[in-house]
């Protein structure tokens, strides 16, 4: 039998922009930013060329895991309004194209980081891709309401990766940066899940509000925020951020706690879920502002040898 006998030819119309969309650019930007902060906070230095290559490799690795996530979750994405326009459910790319792209990018990013920067960072990147694409996407997401709690670790690795690029190791300080993002993820994501519950229900994704109920979710969000607020100032207490950053981080943490308290307090009172939407928006600002402060402080320390307003 001839190879192409009775086969409908399928010629791709995919554009480079569709492949770029597979890499979840908004997530990638956050990954680049937090990895850069980890790199700047780490003791020691890295050649600027290798630093840029390291950040790019981390970004491509994160994008690759996003592509693998979109390949596996295409069935869910086609149901949810938030994700229905992604390249695969929209028909711009096939699942196989996404899978091949994700696999190639994963291998290239890990090899590049390992060979040109160091293999500790390369190994952490490989683990992060595996954690997100296999552990979270293929298993946790569809099987437990704790999916984004445990899976949130994947999003928390980038500052540790940046740190490892410079030092060739991980340390307690890098774990603190990891912990901030890890503890931040549940209240951030559940604020979204509370007003997108129906979407997740239709897609049969066991998010916390759908499984444990709204009341339990709000209680847990408050608990995580109670941990997050003091965690915000740990970098200052441990001496790798200055006093001014500590004060501003405390303010950011207290506002986060207050907005989560409003979500907890207003349960069932507001059909428009204003408090939840406000918390979701603020949570993005919180993480950006906290890491921006740490970055400014790290740059100040590298230039002048002292933190803003001195150490704690």
């Amino acid at each position: 039998m001839s190879v192409n006998e009775n086969i409908e030819p399928e010629i791709s119309l995919a554009m480079p922009a569709d492949y770029y969309a597979l890499m979840k650019p908004r997530v990638m930007r956050l990954v680049v930013f937090t990895a850069l902060v980890g790199m700047l906070l780490a003791p020691g230095s890295i050649d600027p060329t290798l630093g840029v290559i390291g950040i790019l490799a981390i970004a491509i690795g994160a994008g690759a895991s996003g592509a693998l996530n979109m390949w596996y979750d295409a069935d869910i994405d086609a149901i949810m309004s938030r994700t229905v326009n992604r390249p695969i459910p929209a028909g711009r790319l096939t699942g196989n194209q996404a899978l091949n792209f994700g696999m190639v990018m994963s291998v290239l990013s890990v090899l590049t980081l390992g060979m040109l920067v160091n293999w500790v960072a390369g190994a952490i990147l490989a683990f992060t891709i595996f954690y997100y694409a296999v552990f979270y996407t293929m298993w946790l997401k569809r099987s437990t309401p704790q999916n984004i709690v445990i899976g949130g670790a994947a999003g928390a690795f980038p500052p540790m990766l940046g740190w490892a690029c410079v030092t060739g190791s991980v340390s307690l300080e890098s774990f603190v940066l990891f912990a901030i993002i890890f503890i931040w993820t549940p209240p951030h994501f559940w604020a979204l899940a509370l007003w997108k519950m129906r979407d997740y229900d239709d897609a049969k994704v066991p998010m916390m509000p759908n499984v444990a109920g709204e009341k339990s979710t709000r209680n847990q969000m408050l608990a995580y925020s109670v941990i997050l607020a003091p965690l915000s100032i740990v970098p200052t207490l441990m001496g790798f951020a200055g006093f001014l950053v500590g004060v501003l981080s405390a303010v950011l943490g207290v506002v986060f706690l207050w907005l989560t308290f409003k979500v907890w307090q207003n349960a069932g009172r507001d059909e428009k879920l204003t408090a939840e939407k406000r918390l979701f928006g603020y949570s993005i600002f919180y993480l950006f502002a906290l890491f921006a402060l740490l970055m400014i402080d790290a740059i100040t320390f590298r230039i002048s040898g002292a933190y803003l307003l001195g150490a704690f």
Partner: protein
């Protein structure tokens, strides 16, 4: 696409539409740029790695030479 009754026969060639040709052209350009970027990254990355190691090596050699000179001077 019209190939007989919608099925391709052995030996038939596919005629790409303008839209398909345009998409392929842009994909080829993107792959080309990505490959060129990778070559550049590995070239400059390797140079950066070598130069930092060479710097360390030069410093070690200079320190060893200084120590040896000092020892020779002290013994005299």
């Amino acid at each position: 696409m019209e190939f007989g009754e919608g099925k391709m026969q052995p030996g038939e060639l596919i005629e790409l539409t303008d839209e398909q040709k345009r998409a392929r052209k842009f994909r080829n350009i993107a792959i080309g740029l990505a490959l060129a970027f990778m070559v550049g990254a590995f070239y400059y990355g390797s140079v950066a790695r070598f130069s930092s190691k060479l710097g360390e090596r030069a410093a070690t050699v200079a320190a060893e030479k200084a120590a040896a000179d000092k020892a020779a001077k002290d013994s005299n």
